[in-house]
């Protein structure tokens, strides 16, 4: 297979182009995600999860991952997700079992602080301890989640794995978190760089090692843009509030402006995350093979925008539709019962209140499924084909590893709601 011009230039010399066993689209990433199929799956999963009071979510997550992993191909072969719902479910049960000792420890610490009676300072210490423990737990859960996910992912029957210690990751993340807090968020790029390095440097495909050299300074520029935008938005918002209270600005105009402001923040966040992903990926190697990430961030951002708008529209239309049906139903009941006018209005209002909750739940489900399916399919179809691995023919030689894999998955991460899917 011939390498692209880019790869030859970046690799510094023309490459030998023989590849004895690969063909066609070898060495390229591709994704085939159908938004419609995804929408159906997400809606079905949301309904079942709701009906089972949340228990189905482990089966839903597993089903979604199996589907999505299978839709991403490299060298013509799909990635595969081998995790099972049982592993997730038992992992969740383990996390619940761990909560009691944690709760007791928290109780003892609180009692101890209370007994020490530092008065005003004690409440501060108590909430600080609480925050730090929670932050540590989230980091711990995140590393364990990544380890589980990688261990359950394979390509051409060779599994990924994540070595390293989750405790070390959590402890150092905690230190970084404290530094970030102390520096009013300025240390965040360095924390992000460290976390990415820590995970990628421990990740493997079979016996091939990933390595990452991303630096905080590289993330800093992107971060300052994002940070600055947030500050600017905050300023605009405050100015708006001030002018509103002084009565110079007509109140009607502020609504849409505020709405736009808050639409900008998630979009800016997506753009920031994507540009960091791009950077991290480009600083990552698999066994000395450089990885390239070239995709149009704007395209994903736009789809995020469209997804949000569509979700909002679907929500409103569903809500209005269900309420309209409810109104017809209620009016029908009145004409049957023949209730007098004034009482009739109150009756209608009271009845409509009962329709509001189910309508809201249904509208939320439909809107979330619509927004997620639009965004996810566009995200994968834009980002995945933009990834490349230099000298990919050498990836043929990667040997399977024999790393140990965790038995159960993600319990803490599920309980603490770390990671989205």
């Amino acid at each position: 297979m011939a390498l692209t011009y880019d790869e030859r230039v970046l690799a510094g010399r023309p490459q030998h182009s023989g590849n004895r066993s690969d063909s066609g689209n070898g060495g390229r990433f591709s994704a085939m995600v159908s938004g419609g199929t995804l929408f159906g799956m997400l809606l079905k999963y949301a309904l079942l999860t709701f009906l089972t009071l949340g228990i189905y979510r482990f089966w839903a997550k597993t089903g979604l991952r199996r589907h999505l992993w299978g839709r991403v191909l490299y060298g013509g072969d799909p990635f595969q997700y081998h995790g099972t719902a049982k592993e997730l479910f038992v992992g969740f049960l383990i996390a619940l079992a761990v909560l009691l000792p944690l709760g007791i420890i928290h109780l003892l610490i609180s009692r101890w602080i209370g007994a020490a009676d530092l008065s005003g300072a004690s409440s501060l210490i108590n909430s600080a301890v609480y925050f730090l423990v929670l932050f540590g737990l989230v980091s711990l859960a995140f590393y364990r989640m990544r380890r589980y996910q990688l261990s359950r992912t394979s390509w051409r029957s060779v599994h990924f794995s994540l070595a390293g210690s989750p405790v070390e990751y959590a402890a150092k993340s905690l230190l970084w978190g404290m530094a970030t807090l102390a520096s009013l968020g300025l240390a965040y790029p360095w924390m992000l760089a460290w976390q990415n390095r820590q995970i990628l440097n421990n990740a493997r495909l079979g016996q091939a090692r990933f390595s990452c050299r991303v630096r905080g300074v590289d993330i800093l520029v992107r971060y300052i843009l994002f940070y600055g935008l947030l500050l600017l938005l905050g300023l605009i918002y405050t100015a708006l509030l001030a002018s509103l209270s002084s009565g110079r600005e007509p109140a009607a105009a502020t609504g849409p402006v505020v709405f736009l402001l808050f639409l900008v923040i998630p979009v800016a966040f997506i753009a920031f995350r994507l540009s960091v992903f791009k950077l991290v990926a480009s600083e990552t190697r698999l066994n000395k093979h450089r990885i390239y990430a070239r995709f149009q961030t704007g395209k994903v951002v736009l789809s995020g925008f469209i997804a949000t708008l569509t979700g909002g529209l679907v929500f409103l239309v569903t809500l209005a539709g269900v309420m309209a049906i409810g109104l017809l139903f209620t009016v029908g009941m009145i004409s049957l019962d023949g209730i007098a006018n004034a009482e009739g209005v109150i009756f209608v209002l009271l009845n409509m209140m009962q329709w509001l909750l189910p309508a809201g739940i249904l509208a939320t489900m439909l809107a979330t499924a619509a927004a997620k399916s639009i965004f996810l399919s566009s995200l994968l179809e834009t980002v995945i084909p933009g990834l490349k691995i230099a000298q990919s023919e050498r990836l043929e030689a990667i040997l399977a590893g024999n790393q140990s894999a965790p038995r159960y998955g993600e319990g803490l991460a599920d309980a603490l709601d770390v990671g989205s899917f």
Partner: protein
Amino acid sequence: MGQARFQDGKTTASHVVELHWDIEQLRIVAMDGGAELARWPLDQIRQVNMPGDDGRIRLALGHEPGARLLVSDSLDRDQVLGRCPNLAIKPEREKGWWRGYAFWGSAAILSITGLFLFVIPALSGVIAGFVPMEWERKFGNTAEEQILTGLSKLEKKPLGQMTCSTPAGDQALEKLLASLTGGYGDRSQLSVKVVDTKVPNAFALPGERILILRGLLDLADGPNGVAGVLAHELGHVQERHVMSNVIETSATSLLLGLVLGDVTGGALLVGVGETALNSAYGRDKERAADDYAIERMTEAGFDPAPLGDLLTRLSGESGNIDEYLVWASSHPATSERLAVIRESSMGGGQALNETEWQALKNICNPE
């Protein structure tokens, strides 16, 4: 003989192979070089398709992870389907597959029960002690406003006319408070208001606030029943039960959120504010407040027995008005409580004389 791909599970190479069908086994031979890569007994070949294998058959030897054979050519597929007898056999469930569920399931149930029953109640009390009084006062202010607004709608009266005050009535109330707050400490922030509504109830709110609803005064025969209710609410205030109740309810719904997952997108949290005010205190807190009330009454030389009578009467009354609005619904006149109150009664005087009692009873009807 056709073309297929073989991945040996040891490397990421994807070999283009030829399939040679023998009587009892399949020989997998590399296309270039002709090396034999594997021999698979036909009866052990299983189909293990995954999402993403569109239009291909994925074959494995047994159900072990490792080598995979991918067949896409239709002639080969016919061969596979015709020659391999056990393609569709599923892996047997491994022995003791249920143990993970059973062990961790019971551990999880035990843990959650323990958290609900012991840790959260104990923790909420401790944490309530950490909440700065300043916050609690602000919270109490808002809560009082909400309750008054709600009651003013019920009574169809402007908010400004909801609280009652007459010079004589205020004096009587102050006398009650003075005699009941012996061990209370600084009561400069303590606020007790009578609200003009037919609902028979009394609340302790965060930030040392107590609301007595006129309906309760209407129902009472004499001053001691009202004094008992007031002392009971003072007990809740003194022990900061309200704040710890709010924390307990939030922690409980947070825990519930963890167990259920984000089923409806945080809908659970919406109810927290409401339940925080409506929900009854736990049994222990009620007992503590009762004990406090009896102690204060006895100390002041009042007979606590009428508190029991008032409780019984409230329970009878609750049928007529919305259940949740009545003091008795959150303070049921259980036989246990009544017995404790009766037994503690060692006689004693009236909390107010007749003139003062009538003044308090009519605090909402200025002449």
